[in-house]
């Protein structure tokens, strides 16, 4: 690291997490530079989603340290930060979920303005204006007053992205955000994420969209059995994986590999 380089936006060090007797994360360390996208890939149950949920403390790691921007949480067994501290930490770390998790009793507009209104305590008018602008950004201005049940999966996920953006987060975490979508709806969500990458949003994506990871991520990390097995540029990890487990995992995305071999 050269002296001129600023510290990473996200710094995770020696993170451990167990659910009961199942050790899910085994001392994971990861850095994400400001304005870059890191893709986490790996088999299901490898711990990549748990890692993501630990970065905004939806799961409390039992050991390790998480820093996002200038906020640091040190985790020690049995010591939980206060509700208020956790909330303010999460307010600056946006997250988008596989199953959207929109609030079904609120319209798209109310979903997006909930954070600014209730957490940031913006005046109602300002919150609404901000939410409208963000809905326009994800191309859903005309759906502002629809309830989630009247939106398609792709539209719901775009509302969810707008909801996360409404808190002006320093980083965005994407947890398999296209996995629950019909294939023809994946593109519209990826387009939104792509434009966020271009704007320089710092993000971590758990994804099975290898081609997309290759395209937008600066770094790809292959996680298996609770540890980062291989990490590097998309080219190194996706095209020329060194580790046998990475190779075996990627072999399942054959068609993708062939596509890249040709280009």
């Amino acid at each position: 690291m050269s002296a001129a380089e600023p510290p990473p936006m996200i710094e995770v060090s020696d993170l451990w997490k167990a659910f009961g007797s199942l050790q899910v994360l085994k001392g994971i360390s990861l850095e994400v530079r400001k304005g870059s996208a890191v893709a986490l890939i790996g088999p299901s149950g490898s711990g990549k989603s748990t890692l993501l949920r630990c970065i905004n403390l939806l799961e409390m790691p039992e050991r390790g340290r998480v820093r996002v921007g200038d906020q640091i949480i040190d985790c020690a067994r049995g010591k939980l930060p206060a509700d208020k501290e956790l909330a303010s930490f999460r307010a600056r770390t946006g997250m988008v979920f596989q199953l959207f998790n929109l609030f079904p009793h609120m319209t798209a507009l109310q979903n997006v303005s909930a954070g600014p209104l209730f957490v940031k305590k913006l005046p109602a008018g300002e919150a609404k204006e901000l939410a409208m602008a963000l809905l326009a950004k994800v191309d859903l201005a005309d759906k502002a007053h629809d309830y989630p049940s009247h939106l398609s999966g792709g539209q719901r996920q775009r509302v969810a992205i707008a909801r996360a953006l409404a808190m002006s987060p320093e980083v965005l975490l994407f947890d398999e955000v296209t996995s629950a979508l019909d294939p023809e709806l994946v593109g519209e969500v990826l387009d939104v994420i792509r434009s966020l990458v271009e704007e320089g949003m710092t993000m971590v994506l758990v994804t099975h969209e290898m081609a997309f990871a290759h395209e937008v991520a600066k770094t790809v990390a292959f996680i298996s059995d609770g540890a980062i097995v291989e990490i590097g540029s998309p080219r190194d990890v996706l095209e020329m994986p060194q580790n046998a487990r990475t190779q075996a995992f990627l072999a399942r995305f054959h068609s993708f590999a062939r596509t890249f071999a040709r280009t």
Partner: protein, 224 residues
């Protein structure tokens, strides 16, 4: 014909109309009162039961199960006849009746309330927390508005049952509808007409409420 031919005559009950009305008034006061107090107890206990602390949960579970797993009639008699021996203070019948009815229905409300809250998907908590809401905000803005909808049908059902439950306080001489019926019977020796009338009055109140509850339930289902 070997059967005794009984000559039905309800007309004498007209004389006792004010007594029956007064009894009905008591029944309604006990129903509404115990629903209100029970709701306060139930909300409080149900909310606290969401805590992960064993220390908080244990006494609350003990309370809920004690009241759910013993007959209401036993509870009423215990509080009226046994509890005063324990604490050395007499409890008036109307206070014992209201107290037990409230605690009894409160135990059921607590479970309805908790059940409604835990029926909301974990993803809703995740999403609300992820935008920085504090625990109490998550409950107020996201979980409760959804949970209340699911709580309404069981709440209405429990409250309808509660109106019937109030008849048990007649055993400790609280002057409710059934108790007045007993008084009238002992004065007139005509249990058939009296108790039939009492039953009809209960039915006349509860049947429309039951139908109404079904309508509400159907509307809630439709709005999902």
């Amino acid at each position: 014909m070997t059967a005794v031919t009984y000559h039905w005559d309800f007309s004498f009950l007209w004389m006792y109309r004010w007594l029956l009305l007064k009894g009905l008034g008591f029944t309604i006061v006990y129903t509404v009162g115990s629903i209100v107090f029970g709701l306060i107890v139930g909300l409080l206990v149900g909310l606290l039961r969401l805590s992960k602390s064993w220390l908080v949960n244990f006494p609350l579970i003990a309370y809920i199960e004690a009241f759910r797993c013993t007959p209401l009639l036993v509870q009423i008699i215990w509080f009226y006849y046994a509890f005063p021996v324990l604490v050395g203070v007499d409890i008036p019948a109307h206070a014992a009746g209201m107290l037990v009815l409230s605690l009894y229905t409160g135990a059921f409300y607590a479970e309805i309330f908790r059940g409604g809250v835990i029926s909301i998907e974990r993803g809703q908590w995740d999403a609300a927390r992820a935008i920085g809401m504090r625990h109490i905000q998550v409950l107020r803005r996201v979980i409760l508005p959804q949970a209340v909808k699911r709580m309404i049908p069981p709440f209405i059902n429990q409250s309808i049952i509660q109106l019937k439950n109030t008849s048990l306080v007649s055993t400790i001489a609280v002057a409710d509808l059934l108790y007045q019926g007993q008084l009238i019977t002992s004065a007139t020796y005509r249990p058939l007409e009296t108790y039939t009338t009492v039953a009809i009055i209960y039915f006349a109140i509860l049947f429309p409420l039951t139908v109404g509850a079904q309508v509400v339930e159907r509307r809630l289902q439709k709005s999902d």
